[in-house]
Symmetry: C2
Subunit: 246 residues, 2 copies
DNA sequence: CGAATAGTGTCTCTTAGACAGTATTGC
DNA sequence: GCAATACTGTCTAAGAGACACTATTCG
């Protein structure tokens, strides 16, 4: 807080207000998180979640999307707020953070371009991210985000977004693996597939006809190869409650 | 923002960070909300939710309890964060608010003493509160709080807290009425009572032996009188997984 | 064949929603 | 008796958990 350049004055002390984004991506059946390497102090050089300070003309949802775009180039994601982090000392500059998660659709731009505040931006598997020393309390935020997604996998909106994360060709076991990493426990195969049907998620995808054996070298795993699926272009059979005017 | 008295200086503009508490109470089968009449501008004289600004040495949970105690004298409640409110212009001073709800146990002090910032503090029925013009966006916060509680009535912790709100003698229909006001819809009597059993909430209460007819003047309603219940002192039959050492 | 994973089906238990039937009061 | 609310029970359907059986590949 350099007194010389300070241009904003208040009667009472004010914390910084920031947002942090935990952006998840599915890569080869593994959940990955978008992290940046901090380009400035504090915690310069450490891995951190993308995010930044609130501006006067925006709300928190807008802020988290703007910062994500600025720091990593990622757009077109839906942010879900899941918790605030305000423990004194979590950031030596006194910053309160609203934490969000989002699930990156596979077709979204993976541009991931380092921006102003970020030296580098890149994807890290959950395992990697957990092994690294993260800036601030971002390790706690990450864990809370994983739990938050896991708790909302029964929400059709979130479950649908998980399907949207999948690559052009994926197996149902791949989807199950993603769910398991968010839930933190193994799921029964039969029950999981039944759930996909009940939630009408099977209507959103279709078989490609390919299997794990028929791709590339014609070589498969040493077990029954799984069917590949893809997202349907459009749920063509949208119910039309009204007919065109005469 | 009087430039003269300003003692805190920052390089970037910072919003005020506040908390707001929606404290619910059950009174005669009706949900009531604790509100204060604002003693200062902006919105002086209007009804508002208790709450206030975050201090440097506390987190948001602490802040909301401190402000509640200062403004209304209420202590010993558990705060549940349910949403942030940050729309630009919601407060002309640029304030971001973390909103909480809590359910007042009946045995808690209803002292409700006006404090520094509040001219008066008092309880208002949901109907009253909804009819009044509230300060800032507190009408929206109130509605969001009601919905948030309604969505969490299946959570044993919240359902238990609702029982804790009830007066010394209450009927099961009273409890149902409280649930209905949070849920915003009528509930089936049979199904509701079954739920109380399934959630083991019936273990927490017991019949007083009195009915609506046997109280006071011996006069009752013109229909079958309901049984009165009260909270059990202690769930005396706590499962003892281990026996005392010899 | 055995190991490993994919895919499907089944049994049971819990819970939710709808609703019927009885009970007890005042008027 | 009638109106109104309290209390209890039943029928059915949906969903979850556990688990078994078959299928298909590689080595």
């Amino acid at each position: 807080m350099s007194e010389i350049r300070a241009r904003f004055h208040y009667d009472h002390p004010r914390p910084g207000v920031a947002t942090d984004m935990v952006l998840f991506k599915a890569r080869q059946g593994e959940v990955h998180v978008l992290m940046i390497e901090r380009g400035e102090n504090p915690h310069k050089g450490k891995l951190a979640l993308p995010g930044g300070f609130l501006r006067p003309d925006e709300d928190l949802d807008t802020c988290v999307l703007r910062e994500l775009a600025e720091e990593t180039g990622v757009t077109h994601v839906t942010p879900y707020h899941f918790a605030n982090f305000s423990t004194p000392g979590r950031d030596e500059r006194w910053v309160v953070s609203a934490a969000y998660f989002a699930l990156l659709p596979h077709d979204a731009e993976p541009v991931v371009q380092p921006g102003s505040d970020a030296a580098t931006a890149g994807w890290y598997s959950l395992e990697e991210a957990r092994a690294r020393k993260l800036a601030f309390d971002h390790a706690r935020i990450l864990e809370a985000a994983v739990t938050a997604v896991g708790a909302r996998l029964d929400d059709p909106v979130i479950a649908k977004a998980v399907l949207g994360m999948m690559p052009p060709a994926f197996t149902l076991s791949d989807v199950q693996r993603i769910h398991e990493q968010f839930r933190g426990e193994a799921l029964d195969r039969g029950n999981f597939r039944r759930k996909l049907k009940i939630m009408q998620l099977m209507d959103l995808i279709e078989r490609t006809g390919e299997t794990q054996r028929t791709d590339e070298t014609g070589k498969g795993p040493r077990h029954r190869p799984a069917e590949y699926y893809r997202l349907r272009k459009k749920p063509a059979s949208l119910p039309r409650p009204q007919r065109a005017r005469p």
